[in-house]
């Protein structure tokens, strides 16, 4: 999860000190998740990179206004979304897709095997469970887990209700939980047989 305070701090440095270093840190921190998000809309890697780069150019050119941004994450995701949708409309390549159809690269469900004490089998099961999530559910899960957005921000970004976001998140978590619940019981069975 991205640290919002940290991001705000960096934006402030860019605004007040015109700090190139803070600008670079921001870029390195947010480029990938924003590109992944843009890719979901644009279905083109080059295109996604260009949109995100444009958003960062905009940030640099309007740096004095940065401290006024209250929630930097939602601001950036919306900027990427608007630019991506605009560029689609401009090129008249296709009708912009419904948010439910935005492709999402696999969220990085990462396991530290030593710390989590999980079997290979369980890890694959979890990975599979995430892959099997419906498109919109997976997008919401990624935005919250990996990108650090809040329920409210995701609702605003995707123009759905907070309740819907919560429902989708709960579905995702329950599916992951189900994987483990099974593992627990089979583990217990194995022990009791011995």
């Amino acid at each position: 999860m991205k640290d919002v305070l940290h991001i705000k701090w960096l934006l402030e440095q860019v605004a007040l000190q015109q700090s190139e270093e803070a600008y670079k840190k921001l870029f390195l921190l947010l480029h990938k998740p924003l590109c992944q998000f843009a890719f979901g809309i644009l279905k083109s890697n080059d295109h996604a990179q260009e949109v995100v780069s444009d958003v960062f150019i905009h940030i640099w050119e309007h740096k004095t206004k940065l401290p006024a941004i209250e929630s930097p994450l939602i601001y950036l995701y919306k900027a990427v979304k608007n630019r991506a949708l605009n560029s689609i409309a401009k090129e008249r390549r296709q009708q912009a897709l419904d948010a439910g159809e935005w492709l999402v690269p696999m969220p990085s469900v990462y396991f530290d095997p030593e710390k989590l004490m999980m079997t290979e089998e369980l890890m694959q099961k979890l990975q599979q469970a995430v892959e099997d999530l419906p498109g919109r559910c997976r997008l919401i899960f990624k935005l919250i887990k990996d990108d650090g957005l809040k329920y409210k921000e995701v609702a605003e970004l995707l123009q759905i209700s907070v309740k819907t976001v919560e429902a989708q998140m709960t579905i995702a978590m329950r599916r992951l939980g189900k994987c483990m619940q099974m593992e627990v019981s089979s583990f217990n069975v194995r022990i009791s047989k011995k």
Partner: protein, 372 residues
């Protein structure tokens, strides 16, 4: 209680969306269903596990991005004032690194920003100027063991060390910029020759136009220290308001915190009788040319050949503990060390290891007793 409710609450908790009521409800559910403990703990671990960071791709993308900026003829970078080129560069580089680390370390800010409104019952009759002055006072303070960073209305930045207080009123930035400091503050003041920046402390008054400097003015300390990192600065001593001392870059003025001292003496030698004032050069660390006086803003606690008694006072503020050194010789023992993430025990162990006079310490609750 339904499983559905359990999943909603668990998800809220893990995603950081849970209210205190949600958390209480969740705890109760957990007690009823201990069999869920394993899955819920693992889900939380999965959520928090972060993949190893590999920035290679992002670095490449950043190069491309800079290239695009250039192609579009967008000026990039900080415009550099010619006279200050070298100094500005060095400062901005170290400063942003340091700020970052501070935040990454998980800054625990315990600052309370209070805008206090004073209502004057005799408002009709009172002196208008005074009423105005009292109308709106901003006060920022830090508890022991915590630090914070403040941005003043003109954009100047102040880091407040532990157990410190900074106040300014709403007149700030009208004709001038006045703040009052108790404790330690590191100031990065935006240049504005028309509006001098003044720091009031109980012993000295510091006047600058736009510089970077540190003021250490804890009332319980023996001295008040003003260290100038860059620019120029003028100090006047409350007890002798007519004398002005001009500091140059990398100079530090130490003034004894004694009220009503009539004696005036300039002593360059630290080893003589307690001096009223000394003017020293700031020492730069030979390794990374960092300056001890600004290390605390980097979340580093630095002791440079200081008496253990003084070190104990610094540690008390830094770690929010109480330290008592029972042995006089130990109190005078000069020690050196730099601490960053260590706990108070780890720091003391480090000092004990490095000290030629061995000592041991015992902690009970918030109090630490040090003896041989």
């Amino acid at each position: 209680m339904s499983q559905e409710r359990f999943w909603i609450l668990l998800t809220r908790k893990i995603a950081g969306e849970a209210s205190p009521e949600d958390l209480t409800e969740f705890e109760q559910l957990m007690q009823q269903h201990p069999e869920w403990q394993f899955a819920s703990q693992n889900l939380e671990d999965i959520w928090n596990a972060k993949p190893p960071v590999d920035l290679t791709e992002e670095e490449d993308a950043y190069m491309l991005h800079l290239h695009r900026l250039q192609e579009k003829n967008i000026p990039f970078g900080r415009p550099i004032e010619p006279e200050e080129e070298a100094a500005v560069f060095e400062l901005s580089a170290t400063a942003s690194r340091k700020r970052l680390r501070w935040l990454v370390a998980g800054l625990t800010v315990a600052a309370s920003l209070a805008a206090v409104l004073f209502f004057n019952p005799f408002s009709g009759k009172t002196d208008a100027a005074q009423a105005k002055q009292l109308a709106n006072v901003n006060e920022i303070s830090t508890r022991l063991g915590s630090k914070t960073r403040i941005q003043l209305p003109d954009g100047s930045i102040v880091w407040l060390n532990a157990g410190s207080k900074l106040t300014y009123d709403k007149e700030y930035n009208q004709d001038d910029r006045q703040v009052t400091l108790t404790g330690e503050g590191f100031f990065d003041v935006i240049k504005d020759p028309a509006k001098p920046f003044l720091v009031h402390t109980s012993t000295v008054e510091v006047r600058v136009l736009g510089t970077v400097f540190n003021v250490k003015a804890y009332p319980e300390d023996k001295t008040t220290e003003t260290s100038l990192i860059r620019g120029s600065l003028e100090v006047s001593i409350k007890s002798r308001p007519l004398d002005k001392i001009i500091l140059a870059s990398n100079e530090k003025l130490v003034v004894e915190n004694k009220k009503d001292t009539a004696k005036t003496a300039w002593k360059a030698d630290d080893e003589m009788d307690p001096p009223l004032m000394t003017l020293n050069q700031l020492k730069r660390n030979s390794r990374d040319s960092s300056i001890n006086e600004m290390q605390w803003t980097e979340n580093k606690l630095v002791f440079d050949n200081e008496p253990f008694a003084d070190i104990a006072v610094k540690m008390e503020r830094w770690f929010a503990v109480e330290i008592e050194i029972s042995d006089w010789a130990l109190q005078q023992k000069r020690l050196t060390g730099t601490f960053e993430r260590e706990s108070v025990e780890q720091a003391l162990e480090g000092l004990a290891y490095a000290s030629t006079t061995p000592f041991i310490f015992k902690r009970s609750g918030n109090k630490i007793i040090i003896h041989r």
